[in-house]
C-alpha cells in the first residue's frame, strides 16, 4: 500500500448530510464514477489529493532503492529489465500527479509539499537495498503488497484515479513477476546467492507488512474513506490476504519467513502471524527510518539541481510563444 495514514474527516451520518452530499453518496453507492467537473464534498477532494499525492510521491521516491542497483545489475538483461521497471515507476508517478491535477492541485505544489516534509510517501522506501536479492524482494514483496491494495482501487469512485490504477496494475503485476524471477535465481543459486535471498527476506518481511498501515483498531480514518470508496478494504484484511498468498511462495523458494509465530489457522483459513513493530513504523513515518534523510535528500537535490534546466526550458518556451504571437499579428 503506497498510501498509509491518509488523514480524512470523520464519517458523516446520512441525517447530517446536505442534499448535495446525499446525492453524491447515492452516486458512489450506485457504483458511478465521480469525474473532475462533478460536484464533490470538500473532504472527498482533500482526502483524494492527500492519498493520490502520497501514492505519486511513493512512486518517484520508490525509484531510488531500485535505482541504487541499476549500475550494478549482474547481466545486461537484468539491467534492462530493472531500468524498464524503474522507468515504469516514474511513469506511474506521472499518471498519478495528472490524476491529482484534475482535483485542482498542481504537480509543483505537491512536490513542494513532499520536499518540505508536509506530505509523506510510503514507509517502505526508507529501507536500504543492500544486496542484489533486494531487487527480487522489492519486486516480489513490496510490489506484491502494493498490488494487494491497488487491484481493488481500480474500482475506486474517482474516475481519473481509477483509470490510473488500471494502467498501473497491469505494469505492477509484471514487476512482481520479475521480482519473483530474481528471487528464484537467487534462492536456487549458489550458497552465497541463497544467503543473499534469505537476508533480503529477513529485512523486507516486516517493512512489507507495514505497508498496509496500522491495524484496523488503530486506524481511525478509514470509515469515511471506505464510504466514499476511496479505500476499498481495511488494512488488516489486505495484510492477511498478502500473508496468505506470500507464505506458500516463500516455501517454494525454500526461504524462511522471520516469524516464529507464523502458523496456518484452519479455523480462519489463513495464517496467524506476528504484527510488525509499530513503534518502528511510526519512527519511519516521522522521518527517523534508516534512509529517510538520503531518500528525501536525493529528491530535493534532484529538484534543486534541475532548477536551471526547467527555467531554461520555460524561458525558451515563453519566447517561442511570443514569436508565434508576433508572427500571427504580422500575418493579419
Amino acid at each position: 500500500m503506497y498510501a498509509q495514514l491518509v488523514k480524512s474527516d470523520a464519517i458523516k451520518s446520512r441525517e447530517d448530510m446536505s442534499p448535495e452530499e446525499r446525492a453524491f453518496q447515492d452516486r458512489v453507492d450506485a457504483g458511478e464514477k465521480i469525474e473532475p467537473k462533478d460536484w464533490m464534498p470538500e473532504g472527498y477532494r482533500k482526502t483524494l489529493v492527500r492519498q493520490i499525492g502520497q501514492h505519486a510521491h511513493s512512486e518517484i521516491v520508490g525509484q531510488l532503492p531500485e535505482g541504487n542497483w541499476i549500475t550494478r545489475a549482474p547481466t545486461l538483461e537484468r539491467k534492462a529489465i530493472l531500468l524498464a521497471k524503474v522507468q515504469d515507476e516514474a511513469g506511474h508517478g506521472l499518471y498519478l500527479y495528472s490524476a491529482a491535477e484534475t482535483l485542482g492541485v498542481s504537480r509543483d505544489e505537491l512536490l513542494e509539499k513532499l520536499h518540505s516534509g508536509k506530505m509523506k510517501y510510503s514507509s517502505i522506501f526508507n529501507y536500504p537495498t543492500l544486496n542484489w536479492a533486494d531487487m527480487g524482494a522489492v519486486g516480489w514483496l513490496v510490489d506484491g503488497a502494493a498490488i494487494m491494495n491497488q487491484v481493488p482501487l481500480q474500482r475506486t469512485s474517482y474516475g481519473p484515479y481509477s483509470r490510473a490504477m488500471i494502467r498501473i496494475c497491469k505494469e505492477e503485476s509484471f514487476h512482481q513477476r520479475q521480482g519473483y524471477s530474481i528471487m528464484m535465481k537467487m534462492a536456487f543459486g549458489t550458497p552465497e546467492q541463497k544467503e543473499m535471498a534469505q537476508d533480503a527476506m529477513n529485512r523486507f518481511w516486516y517493512p512489507a507488512l507495514m505497508m498496509f498501515g496500522p491495524s484496523d483498531k488503530d486506524s481511525v480514518h478509514s470509515a469515511q474513506s471506505m464510504a466514499w470508496k476511496i479505500k476499498i478494504n481495511t488494512n488488516d484484511e489486505l495484510r492477511q490476504k498478502f500473508v496468505n498468498e506470500t507464505v506458500p511462495q516463500a516455501e517454494y523458494l525454500g526461504l524462511t519467513i522471520p516469524d516464529e509465530n507464523l502458523a496456518w489457522n484452519e479455523e480462519k483459513q489463513g495464517y496467524d502471524f506476528s504484527e510488525p513493530d509499530w513503534s518502528e513504523f511510526f519512527e519511519v513515518i516521522k522521518g527517523n527510518g534508516p534512509c529517510n534523510r538520503e531518500r528525501l535528500g536525493d529528491r530535493v537535490k534532484a529538484w534543486e539541481d534541475g532548477a536551471w534546466f526547467r527555467d531554461g526550458l520555460n524561458a525558451y518556451a515563453e519566447r517561442a510563444a511570443e514569436r508565434r504571437r508576433a508572427a500571427s499579428v504580422a500575418a493579419e
Binding site: I70, P74, K79, E192, W308, Y316
Partner: protein, 273 residues
C-alpha cells in the same frame, strides 16, 4: 525495447561472421560499437530517479534502455565472430579496462544535465550518421540489420538531444552558460570519433563500415546547424586532443565504471543471475 525484440528474429546469412582472416579486426570493431553503447548507457542510467523533471527522468531511462539493447546486439555478434564462447554478458562483465574499446567521450562523468545532453548530442549526431551508413551500405547483413534496428531509436535520441541543446542554449543566461561550458569541455573529446586506425581501415576495405573521416562533414553540418540555433559558439577545431579509447587507453573514469558494473560477476564467478 530493442533487447526484447532481438530474441525472436531469425538470423540472416553472413559470411563475414565466419571469415577467419577478418576476425580480429571485425571483433575489435564490434566491441567498439558495443562498448560505446554500453558505457554511454551506463552513464545515462545514472540519472534514473535523479532527473530534473519527471518527463526527463523517463526519457533518460528510455535512452539508457535503448543503448543497453544495442549493447546486447553488438556484443552478442562480437562474441559470435570471436568464436571463443564469450557472449555479450561475458564481454561486458569480464573484460578489464584496457580491453574496452569505447570512445573517451562516453566514459566521462555525467556531470550536470548540460554535460549529459551535450555529450549525448555530439555522440548521437555521429552515431546517427554512422548507423545510417551501416544500415544502407554495410556488406555485412548482420551489421546492417543491427544498425537498422538501432537507428530507429538513435534517430529519436538525436531529435531529442538536438531539441534540448537548442532550448537550453537559447534558454536563460545560466542555461546558455552551462551549455557553452559543456560544449567547450566535450569538444576536445569529439575528434576521436573520426580518427580511423588499422581496424577501421580493414572494416572499410571489407565494405562493412564507412571511412570514418567521410562522416565528419555530415556530423559537422548537423552539429553546426543545431549549435547555431542554440546560439552556442562552436569551438575551434584544433582542440581535438583526447583519444585512445578505441585502442584501450582510457581516462581514469572507466576503471570505476567497471568496478561498479562488474562487481557481482567478479565477486561471484560462475553464478547464474
Amino acid at each position: 525495447m530493442a533487447a526484447l525484440e532481438t530474441a525472436a528474429t531469425s538470423v540472416p546469412e553472413d559470411s563475414f561472421v565466419s571469415d577467419a582472416s577478418l576476425r580480429p579486426a571485425f571483433f575489435e570493431w564490434l566491441c567498439r560499437m558495443g562498448d560505446n553503447a554500453l558505457i554511454l548507457g551506463h552513464r545515462t542510467s545514472e540519472w534514473c530517479g535523479h532527473g530534473p523533471v519527471l518527463e526527463e527522468d523517463i526519457a533518460l531511462a528510455n535512452t539508457a534502455l535503448d543503448l543497453i539493447g544495442h549493447t546486447q546486439m553488438w556484443l552478442g555478434l562480437a562474441g559470435e565472430v570471436e568464436g571463443e564462447g564469450r557472449d555479450a554478458d561475458k564481454l561486458a562483465y569480464l573484460r578489464d579496462a584496457m580491453k574496452f574499446r569505447n570512445l573517451l567521450l562516453v566514459e566521462l562523468p555525467k556531470g550536470d544535465m548540460a554535460v549529459t545532453m551535450m555529450r549525448e548530442f555530439l555522440f548521437d549526431a555521429f552515431h546517427y550518421h554512422l548507423l545510417t551508413w551501416l544500415a544502407d551500405n554495410s556488406k555485412s547483413p548482420r551489421v546492417a540489420e543491427i544498425a537498422a534496428k538501432a537507428l530507429k531509436e538513435v534517430s529519436y535520441h538525436l531529435d531529442r538531444a538536438s531539441d534540448l541543446v537548442v532550448r537550453l542554449g537559447d534558454g536563460t543566461e545560466e542555461s546558455h552558460r552551462r551549455m557553452q561550458d559543456a560544449l567547450d569541455l566535450l569538444w576536445a573529446y569529439s575528434g576521436e570519433m573520426f580518427v580511423g586506425d588499422e581496424v577501421d581501415a580493414a572494416m572499410t576495405q571489407a565494405g562493412i563500415a564507412p571511412d570514418l573521416e567521410s562522416l565528419r562533414g555530415e556530423w559537422e553540418t548537423t552539429v553546426r546547424d543545431v549549435l547555431k540555433e542554440a546560439t552556442l559558439a562552436m569551438p575551434a577545431e584544433a582542440g581535438f586532443v583526447h583519444k585512445g579509447g578505441k585502442q584501450g587507453r582510457h581516462t581514469e573514469h572507466l576503471g570505476f565504471i567497471l568496478a561498479e558494473m562488474q562487481f557481482l560477476q567478479r565477486a561471484y564467478p560462475g553464478a547464474s543471475w
